[in-house]
Every structure is written in structure tokens, then in C-alpha cells.
Symmetry: C2
Subunit: 124 residues, 2 copies
Amino acid sequence: MNRKTSSANEINKLKFHCEMDVAMHYVGGKWKTVVLWYLIEDKKRFNEIKKLIPNITEKMLSIQLKSLEEDGIIKKEVFNVKPPLKVEYSLTDFGKTLIPLLQYLVTWGGFVVKEKSHSIHTKQ
Amino acid sequence: MNRKTSSANEINKLKFHCEMDVAMHYVGGKWKTVVLWYLIEDKKRFNEIKKLIPNITEKMLSIQLKSLEEDGIIKKEVFNVKPPLKVEYSLTDFGKTLIPLLQYLVTWGGFVVKEKSHSIHTKQ
DNA sequence: CAGCATCCTTTATGATACTG
DNA sequence: CAGTATCATAAAGGATGCTG
């Protein structure tokens, strides 16, 4: 695999130094991977996601959903115009290409929790 | 896989909401994955990494390397005490468990660059 | 229900100069 | 060579109240 990534990539006016930058643009930050994780299973409504992630604020959830939608990772469907609104979020086909990555992240995270809780790992 | 992650995990005094939080703690941020990517191949010196990532500042590289070392992902070896110093950074065994993830990230990033540059993907 | 607006604090990142 | 110190901005995150 090529590590000599001296040329910059450009996607929608954004410049990236390397493929890693590109990937992290889509899944980086504190919340995106968590939100996406809960959308793998099935489409969900705003408050469903909110309840699944107790410590996220409505503002942050709103920002993440908007960002993911703009990036084409998820799609938003509005089912009625008058309150109470019904809105559903789901992965796009493009977003589904992230599933293996999300699964690996969760698996690795779980692995680390086990390792660390058993104090197998120490600082080197 | 279990998505009901209501219980918090704790690693070295840090609390995490779910496995995803844990994983992102180790590889999140703008630089960590990039730095780690260049360390897969072989151990490297500070200025070697710096040259491979032209737009990183010494300060940021220093912060990332310190953080990765504290997390046990990389190890630092100092070979002489008097300037000019020789310091080498390399992945620990624990850090090497991240390699598949890093490879997937780069592969996915490359895939996206291709897709987007061909305008196959549009906002939904 | 599904958000947005506002104000605020905390992290992250950056530019530049300097040191053992 | 391998960093640190300082000053600064930008981005992320959060609390609270309000709205169509």
C-alpha cells in the first residue's frame, strides 16, 4: 500500500492530505461513529437516537445528523408536515460501506475494555 | 452484536459511554491515524514523521506522539543523551492490533476519493 | 416531535520562536 | 535532532430556553 501521499485530494472544495484525512472527515469527532452504529440496525427517529445515546445533547445530535446527511452517509425522511413531526434517519448505500469499519471499531473498543480491565496492558 | 451499551466503561480514570467511545479515544482527532499509518511500515524518527506529514506542526506531532505513547499504542526509544538526539518511535504489540483498522480506514478513504472524483455520489 | 437560537466553556489546532 | 514555550485562533461540545 502506498504511503507516499504527497498529492492532495479534493472532495467538495475540501482539501485532504491523504486517504486517512478523507476517512476521518466522515467518521471523526466524538459522536458520528456512535450515531452511525445505532443506524446500522434500522432507521431511527431523532428521539430514538437521543435515548440510545443518553449523554448527547439535542444540539450535538442535530449537528451530527446534518453533517452526516450533507456527506451523503445518511438520509432523512420527513413523513408529515404538521407537528408532531415524524422524521426518520437511515444509512444510504454509501453510508453502508462504513459498516465493516464501524464493526471493527466496536470490536476493537470492546477488546481494549477487556484488556485494560484485566490490567494486561501497562505503559511501555 | 450488542448495541445496548447503557453501562459505562472505565479505563485509566476515563469514562466511556460505549465501545465506540473507547476506540475513538485512541484513534480520534486529526493526526493520530495518519501518524500511526506511517509507523506500520517501520519505526521512525521525529523528523522522519514530520517530513512524511508536511502540514503537521512540530507541536502537534509532539502532542500526538506523547498521547499515543501514554496510551500504550507506540513506544519511544532514546538512543543518546547528548544532542543531536536519536529517538525512534514504533508500534507496541497493543498498537499493532490497530493495523487492520488503519488499513480499512485508508482503503475506505481511497474508495471515497475515487467515488467522489467521478461524481458517482450525490447528496440525497 | 424534532428540532433551532443563544450563550458559554473546553479542546484542538496552529504559527512562531527558542532550547538541551 | 528532537523537541518545548508562548500566544493565538478555530472547532467542538454543552446548558438552557424556545418554536413550527
